[in-house]
Amino acid sequence: MNQSAAKRGAGDVMLEARGMSKRFGDHTVLQDINLSIQRSEVVCLIGPSGSGKSTLLRSLAFLENYDDGEVFVEGELLGYDRASDGRRVRSRPSRLSDVRRNMGMVFQQFNLWPHLSVLENVMEALLRVRGMKRDDAHRLALATLEKVGLAEKAGAWPNRLSGGQQQRVAIARSLAMSPAIMLFDEPTSALDPELVGEVLQVMRQLAEEGMTMVVVTHEMGFAARVADRVLFLDQGHIVEQGPPTRLFRHPQSPRLAQFLGNYLERNSLFEAAPALNRVDD
């Protein structure tokens, strides 16, 4: 039995939200979110625009400070500490970084640092967070770029690369820190259609290697093939969740049925090949 399968036992919870909610002013964007993600599980988050997918993902990384409830990363409360009087206070930055140390995130806009070369982008955190020696960081960064098929672009400037290549660099940058959980917020939405596949391919490989992943995506094909579980979010609620085959074939809620209907209609109208095949090699 391989290692990741052996590790995937019940109770090996990597990421958990309990009764979490998030407001922007008077506007409640997430309400009473309960979510538990096991080691090596791949969870895809789908839902209409504005339903709160990004806000949920960002709250799980404490890029948004959620208002109520709790988020636990490998059992540790994220973003807050209990004060002596029982109330909670925002964690200090060093504590926050510590709780997030095994978490990586990939963004729709790549967010590479344009003034650093591809290699330097990947090396930066190895040098300044891990405190690795330059030689070691260089070697690990190159090996990680190799993994996403971009070792030959190590010396290039990020803005000279295609969107798909930039996103793979961003994945490598995150991956080099050997995260246990990776969050992806629409990693292919900013890409030209012909570049989507190469990024999904890398993500699929990660999933096969046992990475715990939470992926916000509009790529239903990817969700159908790679996800262990799909969550459908609507108006800040998790309306429905389950294995992709069940969710896609037999949606229980009218909202999900409608959402999937819209999706299929859009994609069959405008794409010769069904989107479901996009992940295929």
């Binding site: 060093s94 995130m105 803005n159």
Partner: protein, 218 residues
């Protein structure tokens, strides 16, 4: 009107004046830069009180003429029992004033930086100071290079005001030579040429840097 022998004779004095202009401006700008980064960080702080403090600094030091700031520092501090040499007063005045302008220029540069770049850095575990020095400032400097060059040149020219605290920088030296020789045009022209040499060299240097930075852009 022109007398080459007198010019040659006055040249060492002029160059000494130029040296004063250059090193006092350089020190003032270097310190001003640190002040600028600090004040800019205050203005971009999440806390209202700190933002107001940064704003107040900028209002005061941008609002009061440099000459008055210099005189204030030079005459006020001794009254408070701090006997400072003129060059310290000069550098302090230049630094405090340029700090206010540099803070605003840098803030403009930092505001154009996509927040996602900083979020990515935070999630990778980079700490605030590292993010500032490795991610934010290098890009803010590149983005604002022309404005920064402007400010540097303006400050070098404004540094003629430090003669008010008794320092013979380039302008004052030229004035002295002009007065004693009655060859006004000759010595003001010489001073003008020297200022231009410094400032054009800076512009060329900035141009080089800009071309170097351009390579990284699409």
């Amino acid at each position: 009107m022109f007398d080459l022998a007198l010019l040659v004779q006055g040249l060492p004095l002029l160059l000494a004046g130029l040296w004063n202009t250059v090193w006092l401006s350089a020190c003032g700008l270097a310190l001003g830069f640190l002040i600028g980064i600090g004040v800019c960080s205050l203005k971009l702080s999440e806390r209202g009180a700190l933002r107001r403090l940064g704003g107040a600094y900028i209002s005061v030091f941008r609002g009061i003429p440099l000459l008055i700031q210099l005189l204030f520092i030079y005459y006020l501090l001794p009254r408070l029992g701090l006997d400072i040499p003129a060059w310290v007063a000069a550098i302090a005045g230049l630094a405090l004033c340029s700090g206010a302008y540099l803070a605003e220029i840098l803030r403009g540069g930092l505001l154009t930086l996509p927040v996602g770049q900083v979020e990515a850095a935070r999630l990778l575990g980079l700490r605030g100071r590292t993010i500032l020095t490795r991610i934010k400032l290098p890009q803010a400097l590149r983005a604002t290079l022309p404005a920064l060059l402007n400010e540097v040149i303006l400050l070098i020219k404004a540094s003629s005001l430090i003669s008010a605290v008794g320092l013979a920088e380039l302008t004052r030296t030229a004035q002295n030579l002009a007065a004693s020789s009655f060859l006004q045009l000759q010595f003001y022209l010489a001073a003008a040429v020297l200022y231009c040499i410094v400032n054009i060299s800076l512009a060329l240097l900035a141009g080089q840097l800009e071309r170097r930075f351009e390579k990284g852009r699409a």
